[in-house]
Subunit: 228 residues, 2 copies
Amino acid sequence: MAHILLVEDDTDIMRINQSFLEKEGYDVHCADSVQQAAFLLEECVPDLVLLDVMLPDGDGMDFCKILRQKTQAPVIFLTARDENDDVIKGFRSGGDDYITKPYDLNVLKARIEAQLRRNAKPEAQHPRIELPDLIIDLFSGTAELDGNECSLPQRELQILYLLASRLGSRISYHEIYEKIYGCDVEDSKNTIRVNMSRLKKHLAMDDMSTYEIASTADGEYVLRRVIF
Amino acid sequence: MAHILLVEDDTDIMRINQSFLEKEGYDVHCADSVQQAAFLLEECVPDLVLLDVMLPDGDGMDFCKILRQKTQAPVIFLTARDENDDVIKGFRSGGDDYITKPYDLNVLKARIEAQLRRNAKPEAQHPRIELPDLIIDLFSGTAELDGNECSLPQRELQILYLLASRLGSRISYHEIYEKIYGCDVEDSKNTIRVNMSRLKKHLAMDDMSTYEIASTADGEYVLRRVIF
DNA sequence: AAACAGGATTACGATTTTGTAATCACGGAG
DNA sequence: CTCCGTGATTACAAAATCGTAATCCTGTTT
């Protein structure tokens, strides 16, 4: 369940909010000062922060800036001050919403849900190259050729990645080696050749495949889409 | 040096172009028909194609479409037909430039250079996560923390990548396992724990680091930026 | 034909990777 | 203080990775 960090120095308000939010199923951690809030931040990483602006030992907006260094969790300011300048200052300091007291608990709930929803991580898509019938995924270390997925060792994956990022253009083993090992060396040729061979075997790349790796006379390779 | 595929059925024009381009340092391959051009395409991958429109056994524009399946190399049409409709048709079929005969050889050269220049691959930047003092490179399989680069084994890199892509948010070992192995399993907890430990050791992550991996009571992990 | 050259593949073994299991560390309960 | 539970670390061994070197293959030259 979502963790909420509630920073509020008025004991009554804190109690009311805490019990309401816990009833709603949230995991609530309370602090009544900037210092205590900073301490709790070390204990538990919140998914959202409810932050009173005026606190005994400091300004909530200053705390907001500190907090932003640690987490991107949305911050909702709760305060009695409704001057436009205050609101603007709140957003400037990194806040995501601003609620003025007194407020309805169900409105609070709705705003919390909205923030959590909007902040929901867009399923981080892995970096990959997608060509027709060939997908290369650097995160999982796999390649899928003509529907057959297989996991590749690092070197082979690197080579395939380089070839695919230059589909239809030549690339020298010299350059491949440089890109993978950072520097060139005496017999890079053999090393690349061997791994190239392993790659083809792993991918089960044969005459039936929609891609082929061709090599030119002067030590260059090309990944090509085969047309029949 | 750049390879140019020259497709031209007029022998004289072909000769002139070929010798001129070779003098300019290009590696020129000639074909006098669609069929021969298709054959040469199997032999050598060009960096650029000079294509006559009217050929004895077919239309250059049709060949252009076939060619596009194999390579993204720029295509320059060479033709005596200067009707607007022809020009448009040329570009529609995937051409990158259109030169009408007769033309000046130096103009041809300039246009070739322009195409090759524009087609120059923007140095493909590797997929990476860059945070202040922490860089994760999936291609090279390395991570750099506070200036110290080290190569990480796949599992550790995957974990770090997931943590970093959610900097400051909790992620359960359960979810990490799912993301890496595709499915969850009985004792995913131990496996993740061990690799997490190895990761910290590899990164030399200690009290001095600007990042820390914290673990909560209920099997969740967080990558956090440490503020002093 | 034989010799040769150079790319492709295979063989080999040192090293690395990695899941499992054992051990350690430590805070809380009894 | 001891026992226990849980998380962190370490130990271990099976398996995978990967560079080097040997071998195979194929087309060309002598």
